[in-house]
Symmetry: C2
């Protein structure tokens, strides 16, 4: 029997570690002959674009490089499958490909759109009594998948956000004049990554003085009042704001400044809350103000990856192969936290359907009553996930990547 | 005799290493008793805000942390001195402070505005026959100071830019659809930092496919033509553009989108060329496009500092103290490159006036004839400066900084 693996959705620093995990477990198993990598997610299966992973990963060194290479080495896609009851053509194409390559197990590393594919494909096979196992491996810097304590990729993004907000805090404190720095983080609906900036409090920082998550109602007036209040206490006020903060009417706070483009899943392309608030502070308060968008560096800065995240991401990839070998299908692998201090977790599996159709929001009890910062419980949750480093393999003073 | 040291201008990753260099050389010298740090540059001297550095740096560990802490630990300012012939009041204040603290040597770490202060102050002391030595220590991520092969702080910023452009290149290549990524780098007048992105070619990358420096004439039409050309060759086109690119009429290419604010030196606050070009590509080509501003992370990402840069920055700080002890004044310390491969440099001193009143632009012979990329000579120049790492001291999974 052969297996196939694919990557989908937005890049992270850890999605390749999960690929390494699938490859290593597959290579070790006597039941598995070949491991195929599908290029550009499920599209590669549909279009018969498969690569023999053993030709891509020829040595231990290649695997170590893969774990240190950001983004999806096999490429990605954002393709959503129709319900097979309505349109089964694409399912037949997928199955033809699996049969052609004698693939008995398919592993899909991705976010909740990918888990939707896992759920639909496994349901199709159950309905048709076809014995092909389909198992999902979570991945998202947004940390918003249900059924798992946290998501591979989040820890590294969180570590980058925390370390960078700390460095920006140094940068913000050099002049004697009062100033406001607005840092915009990713997080369309869930505030996990934005909240991670609060970890720097563990290092004795007073910043971030204000943290705004999509889970609270944002208002320009309250923001300006909050900034004025913090300016009484701190020379350089640092506010970290999620791209997805919304006003009481449910609209994105900077919606009028946003483009109206949407992707295949109907998500809007967001950007600009930082710049919007910069202009707002300039207008209403008139002090020195700047905005900084952490942009894709949040998800691709492998040079500062969390060792905990990379190791767990590899482990969960391997666990998916073991689960499929044990007969599991239609599930997503996840982490169950056993303890935070010392940090202990175990790998579990949950229904891919549950993961696909739910979002895990930042708990309201971890947001301060004022709605403009996070509690120490939130910091305690994130802290174990950002621990440890996986130093890049350097070449010419720059990280070395593997490119398929 | 006591000495004073201050930091000025925009933050870098290396300005604190130069401070460490001054402190270490001062502490070692039998002729020097106390080392005072002036808070917020020359302002601290004028306003009598001095700190005894031996109370701030109590151990070897503190010095190691200082070298790993971004931005100016003593704070900074952007204050320009008047000519003393026209207005000598501030010079008298400065001299009163120096006399009060028995300061015989003053070291000013900064860019060309700071070298202007070094030149003016030393000329005042020459005119008044006052024996106080004033020596400048260069610092700028822009690398645009004359009389030195390169500037402390540039190597670390260059390493960050190269490593980050390489990571963004991974992030840009995941989807099968053609795309354009515009990366905006700092560099108001000089393109050195933007050019540093070209170093990733040494790691086998085809990116950046386009590089635009302020030293060439920028045009929207040529840019769009260049992008179209590169899209024939590469699925994901990466263009790196300096914030300071200008059109034939000498205006910043995105000037209409810029704010009209200026600082005390008459510099405009720039931002937005990336976003401007993103919109331009969207309008004219209509493909998937995004822009990423590397922002202040270019100058404050100490976690990825260049060891070569940090070591040289410390050494040049120590060399400034030795130069002053040898009677030098009114000068700026600089590097003379003896060879690139193997890399060898020595420390020299040049007139602060020359440094203050000139800018070192990126050589036109290192720009390709098309004006949209750099030559291999440019890469060879930058490469030695980004070599080596100085891993941060980690605490709670985040870099540890020292805060005075």
């Amino acid at each position: 029997m052969n297996i196939a693996v694919a990557q989908s959705g937005g890049p992270t620093c850890a999605i390749n570690a999960s690929l390494a995990g699938v490859f290593c477990a597959g290579a070790k198993s006597p039941e598995i002959e070949k491991i195929y990598g599908s290029l550009n997610g499920i599209e590669g299966i549909i279009e018969d674009r498969l690569a023999d992973m053993s030709e891509l990963l020829k040595s231990e060194e290649d695997i170590e490089l893969l774990k240190r290479t950001p983004s999806s080495a096999l490429g990605s896609c954002r393709r959503k499958l129709p319900d097979h009851e309505k349109d089964s053509a694409v399912y037949e194409k997928i199955t033809d490909c699996f049969r052609k390559y004698d693939i008995g197990m398919f592993f899909y590393i991705g976010g909740n759109d990918s888990m939707d594919t896992v759920a639909k494909l496994s349901r199709y096979y159950a309905d048709k009594s076809i014995d092909i196992k389909v198992v999902g491996i979570p991945k998202t810097i947004d940390n918003d998948l249900c059924g798992t304590d946290h998501c591979p990729g989040f820890g590294s993004a969180a570590k980058y956000v925390a370390a960078t907000v700390q460095e920006i805090t140094r940068d913000s404190n050099v002049y004697s004049a009062p100033s406001v720095t607005v840092i915009e983080t990713m997080g369309r609906h869930a505030g996990w990554l934005t909240a991670a900036s609060g970890c720097i409090r563990a290092n004795g920082e007073s910043a971030p003085h204000l943290i705004y998550l999509p889970e609270t109602v944002f208002s320009d007036e309250k923001f300006i009042a909050d900034v004025r209040e913090q300016m009484k206490l701190h020379k350089a006020v640092i506010a970290v704001v999620s791209e997805g903060v919304r006003t009481a009417d449910g609209r994105f706070a900077a919606e009028s400044h946003q483009s109206s483009k949407t992707d295949a899943f109907g998500h809007s392309y967001l950007s600009g809350i930082g710049k919007y608030l910069e202009n707002l502070v300039s207008d209403k308060i008139g002090c020195k103000v700047r905005s900084i968008e952490l942009n894709v560096m949040q998800r691709c800065s492998s040079h500062l990856a969390s060792l905990t995240d990379i190791e767990e991401s590899q482990r969960i990839g391997s666990a998916a192969v073991e689960a499929a070998l044990n007969g599991k299908t239609g599930c997503m692998m996840g982490f169950k936290r056993l303890s935070s201090n010392p940090y202990l977790s175990e790998i579990v599996d949950i229904s891919a359907e549950t993961a696909a159709n739910n979002e895990k929001f930042f708990p309201s009890e971890w947001i301060t009553p004022e709605g403009n910062n996070i509690t120490d419980e939130a910091v305690s949750y994130v802290m174990p996930l950002i621990q440890g480093e996986l130093p890049p393999v350097m070449k010419n003073g720059m990280p070395r990547h593997i490119i398929f």
